[in-house]
C-alpha cells in the first residue's frame, strides 16, 4: 500500500453558479469593450443620448491628426517680458478664435515663449499668417503718416472721469513713453482740431479728434458709450502696444490627410499587436493566459477612459509610453504565471499554487514597476513636450496595469478555477508530472 500524490485529482464538482458568474462577467466585459470602441447610437432607439466611442473622445496630438503647431519666442528676455508675453497670449487667442477653429491651445511656456497648437485646421497657411502677424498699433495723422507706434504707449485703461460739468463719463486714459510724449505733443499741436486715428492691424479702432495740445504724455479719449467700450478699446491699444516682438522658433504643420493616416495605421497596428499578444498568452499559459487577456481588455478600457477623462493629448511618444506599460502589464502576468507553474511543479494544489504564485510574484512586480514609475515621475517633472507626454501615459499605464494585472487577474483566475471546469494542473501551464 502506498500514498499516491495526485495533484490533478478531479475532486471538484462543476459549480454551475460560478460558471454562470464567469459567463456573465465575460459578456459584460465584451459589451463594455464594444460600446467603448464602437460607441452606442442610443438616439436611434430612445431618441436621445449617444455614447460616442472612447477613441473619439481622446485628444490626439498634432502628429496623429494633423494641425498647426507654433512656438513663438520673445526677442528679449528681461524684466517685464513675462508680463508682455502673458498679454500676447490673450491677443493671439482672440485672433485664433476669430478663425473659428475648435479647441486651440495657447499657453505660455517659460517666461518668454508662447506655444500654440490648433488641431484639425483646414486652412493652415491662414492660421500661420494670423499667428505670425505682429500686431501693429499706429497713431495716424489725417494724411495717413505714422505719428507713433504701439511701443510708444506705456499704458491704456478704461475709467470714469469727471467732466468740467461734473458728470462722470467713461474714457480711455493713455500714458506715453518719454519718446511718445514728445511725438504726441508735436502731433497734437500740428493737427489740433483734426482727427488722429488709432489703427490696429490696418483697422481703425478709435478716431478721436484732438481737442487739446497734450505735452505731459497723459491723454484721454472721450466719447465712449460705456465703461465696457472704454475698457475694450484700452485693451486693444495696450495689446497692440506689445513691448516684445515675437518670432516663431518652431513651426509644424501636418496636413489632415497625413495625420489621419498616421492615426488610423497606428490604431490598426495596435489592434493587431494586442490580438497577437492574446493568442501568444493563451498558447503559452492556457487558462491563466486567457484570464490575462480579459485583464488586458480591462486595462485597455481603463487607460482609454483615463486618457479621455484627464484630457491627455495622445502623441506618438505617448503611444510609446502605452506600449511600454502594456509590455509591463503582460510581464506582470508572465511573472505570476511562471511562479504558479513553479509551485505546481512542486506538487502543490492549484488553489495554493495560485495563491503562492501571486504572493511570491508581488515583490518582483512591485520593485520593477516602482523603478519604472520613478523614471516616469522624474521625466514628468523635469521633462518638457515629448518627454512629458511619454512620462504621463507611462505613469497612467503602470498604475492601471498594476491594478489589472495583479488584482483583476487574481480574482478572475480564482473565479475560473472555482467553476470546476479547469481543475487540472495542465490547464495552468504545468506538464503532468510523471511519478
Amino acid at each position: 500500500m502506498s500514498f499516491i500524490k495526485n495533484s490533478s485529482m478531479n475532486q471538484q464538482k462543476i459549480s454551475v453558479k460560478n460558471v454562470v458568474k464567469l459567463c456573465v462577467l465575460i459578456v459584460v466585459l465584451a459589451v463594455l469593450a464594444a460600446v467603448m470602441f464602437f460607441g452606442l447610437p442610443l438616439s436611434k432607439v430612445v431618441g436621445y443620448y449617444d455614447i460616442k466611442p472612447v477613441t473619439s473622445s481622446i485628444n490626439y496630438g498634432l502628429d496623429l491628426t494633423g494641425g498647426v503647431y507654433v512656438v513663438l519666442e520673445a526677442a528679449e528676455d528681461g524684466e517685464g517680458t513675462s508680463d508682455a508675453v502673458e498679454r500676447s497670449v490673450t491677443i493671439i487667442r482672440e485672433r485664433i478664435d476669430s478663425l473659428g477653429v475648435k479647441e486651440p491651445t495657447i499657453t505660455k511656456q517659460g517666461s518668454n515663449r508662447i506655444r500654440i497648437s490648433i488641431p484639425d485646421i483646414a486652412n493652415q497657411e491662414e492660421a500661420l499668417d494670423i499667428i505670425g502677424r505682429t500686431a501693429q498699433l499706429t497713431f495716424l495723422a489725417p494724411d495717413g503718416t505714422v505719428i507713433l507706434t504701439g511701443k510708444d504707449v506705456i499704458d491704456a485703461k478704461g475709467l470714469y472721469q469727471q467732466t468740467s460739468a461734473g458728470v462722470n463719463q467713461p474714457v480711455v486714459s493713455l500714458a506715453f513713453s518719454p519718446e511718445g510724449t514728445k511725438l504726441f505733443a508735436e502731433a497734437t499741436e500740428k493737427y489740433y482740431g483734426q482727427i488722429i486715428a488709432i489703427n490696429l492691424d490696418g483697422r481703425d479702432i478709435s478716431t478721436p479728434r484732438v481737442n487739446a495740445v497734450i505735452t505731459n504724455g497723459q491723454a484721454v479719449i472721450e466719447g465712449m458709450a460705456s465703461l465696457e467700450e472704454a475698457s475694450k478699446t484700452a485693451m486693444l491699444i495696450k495689446g497692440g502696444a506689445l513691448p516684445v516682438s515675437l518670432t516663431p522658433v518652431e513651426i509644424r504643420t501636418i496636413g489632415p490627410t497625413l495625420g489621419q493616416n498616421a492615426l488610423s495605421s497606428s490604431m490598426f497596428a495596435a489592434g493587431i499587436g494586442i490580438l497577437l499578444i492574446f493568442i501568444f498568452m493563451i498558447v503559452l499559459y492556457k487558462v491563466p493566459g486567457f484570464v490575462s487577456c480579459l485583464g488586458l481588455i480591462v486595462y485597455t478600457l481603463i487607460t482609454m477612459f483615463i486618457l479621455a477623462a484627464l484630457k491627455v493629448t495622445l502623441t506618438l511618444p505617448g503611444i510609446a509610453g502605452i506600449i511600454l506599460s502594456i509590455g509591463m502589464a503582460v510581464d506582470a502576468n508572465v511573472i505570476i504565471f511562471e511562479r504558479i507553474r513553479e509551485e505546481l511543479m512542486l506538487g502543490k494544489s492549484i488553489l495554493l499554487s495560485i495563491k503562492n504564485g501571486f504572493q511570491r510574484a508581488m515583490t518582483t512586480i512591485l520593485d520593477s514597476n516602482i523603478t519604472t514609475m520613478i523614471a516616469g515621475l522624474v521625466l514628468f517633472i523635469v521633462g518638457t513636450g515629448t518627454v512629458k507626454g511619454f512620462a504621463l501615459t507611462l505613469m497612467i499605464g503602470i498604475l492601471v496595469s498594476m491594478f489589472t494585472a495583479v488584482f483583476i487577474t487574481k480574482q478572475l483566475l480564482k473565479l475560473v478555477y472555482s467553476t470546476g471546469i479547469f481543475a487540472e494542473a495542465k490547464y495552468y501551464g504545468a506538464k503532468e508530472k510523471k511519478v
Binding site: 495605421s265 506618438l316 511573472i335 511570491r360 523603478t371 523614471a375 515629448t386
Partner: protein
C-alpha cells in the same frame, strides 16, 4: 537544469564589448544623423500629384538652398520632401512653395506638412532630454540601492548604459534620423531594461537567503535559469507588439519601432547575460576588498564568536 552563465561571463562581456566598440566606431566616424528637432532646420512636404525626378525639384530648391535634400514620400512617390538645415524665414518658405505652385499648378492643400525648428530650440531640447535622463538614472540607482544593495544598483545602471550604447549604435549604423521619437525610444528601452534586470535581481535576492553566502556562482546561475522562461516570454510578447507596429505603421512610426526592436533584444540579452554576472563580479570584488581590509587590522573587526547551530 542550470545554465552556466557565470562561468562564461567573460565571453558575454566580450561579445557586448565588441558590439559596442563596432557601434561606437560608426558613431564616431559616421556620427548620428541629427534631424531638425535637434539641430534646427526646415522640412516641407509637398504633394506634386505626379511622379517627378529630384533633379527637376532641385531646379526650384537650388534658389533657396543648394544643400537641400530631396526625398520621395507617399505611397506612389508623388510627394517631394524638401529638407534643409537652414531655418528658412516664413517669407522664404512661402516663396519656395509659390514656386512649386506655379511649376506644378498646385492648390494650397498640396502643402502637406511643414516642420521648422530654429537651431537654438533644437539644441535646448537635446540638452534638456539629456539632463532628464541622467537625473532619472540617478534616482533609479538610489531606489535599487535602497531596495537591494549598492552593487545591484551599479550593475543595473551599467546594463542600462550597455543598452543605450547598443541603441545609439543602431542609430549610427542605420543612419536613422535622430528626432523627438529617438528620445521616446531611448526612454522606453531604459524602462524596459531596468524592469527586466530587476526581475532577475529580485530572484537573486530571494534565493540568496537559502544559498550559502559565498556561493555566488550557483546562486546567480540558478536565479537566471529560474527566470529564463519569463525573460524569453516577456521579450517575445513585447517584440510581437512592436513588430506589428513596425509592419503596419507609417514611416515615422517605423523609424521609431526599428530601434525599439533592437533595443528590446539588446535589453533582454543584457539582463540575462550581462546584469547578473556583472553583479557577481562586482560583489565578489567588493567582498574581497572587505576581507582584505579586515585581515590587515587584526583583532579590530574580527573576533571569535560562538558558532551558530
Amino acid at each position: 537544469m542550470r545554465l552556466h552563465i557565470t562561468k562564461h561571463a567573460k565571453t558575454f562581456f566580450l561579445i557586448s564589448l565588441v558590439l559596442i566598440v563596432v557601434g561606437m566606431g560608426f558613431l564616431f566616424t559616421k556620427g548620428l544623423n541629427y534631424g531638425i528637432d535637434f539641430q534646427g532646420g526646415t522640412i516641407v512636404n509637398i504633394e506634386l500629384g505626379k511622379e517627378f525626378t529630384t533633379e527637376e525639384v532641385r531646379t526650384i530648391t537650388d534658389k533657396y538652398d543648394k544643400n537641400a535634400v530631396i526625398t520621395y514620400g507617399g505611397e506612389q512617390k508623388t510627394q517631394a520632401i524638401v529638407s534643409t538645415k537652414l531655418d528658412l524665414s516664413e517669407e522664404v518658405r512661402k516663396a519656395m512653395f509659390a514656386d512649386f505652385q506655379t511649376t506644378y499648378q498646385l492648390e494650397d492643400s498640396a502643402l502637406l506638412s511643414i516642420d521648422k525648428v530654429s537651431p537654438a530650440v533644437g539644441g535646448e531640447m537635446a540638452r534638456q532630454s539629456l539632463w532628464a535622463t541622467i537625473f532619472v538614472v540617478i534616482c533609479m540607482l538610489i531606489y535599487i540601492t535602497i531596495r537591494f544593495e549598492l552593487w545591484f544598483g551599479v550593475a543595473a545602471i551599467l546594463c542600462l548604459l550597455h543598452d543605450v550604447l547598443i541603441m545609439l549604435s543602431v542609430y549610427a549604423i542605420m543612419q536613422i534620423e535622430v528626432n523627438t521619437p529617438f528620445i521616446a525610444a531611448i526612454l522606453t528601452i531604459l524602462g524596459y531594461s531596468i524592469n527586466d534586470t530587476i526581475v532577475v535581481f529580485d530572484r537573486i535576492r530571494e534565493n540568496r537567503k537559502s544559498y550559502g553566502k559565498y556561493d555566488y556562482v550557483t546562486l546567480v546561475d540558478d536565479s537566471i535559469t529560474q527566470t529564463l522562461r519569463r525573460s524569453i516570454n516577456t521579450t517575445l510578447t513585447t517584440l510581437i507588439a512592436i513588430t506589428t507596429l513596425y509592419i503596419f505603421g507609417v514611416a515615422d512610426i517605423r523609424d521609431f519601432a526599428l530601434p525599439l526592436i533592437v533595443g528590446f533584444v539588446g535589453g533582454a540579452y543584457s539582463s540575462i547575460f550581462i546584469a547578473s554576472p556583472l553583479w557577481y563580479k562586482l560583489q565578489e570584488a567588493a567582498d574581497k576588498r572587505k576581507k582584505n581590509k579586515i585581515d590587515t587590522k587584526p583583532g579590530k573587526k574580527t573576533g571569535y564568536k560562538k558558532q551558530k547551530a
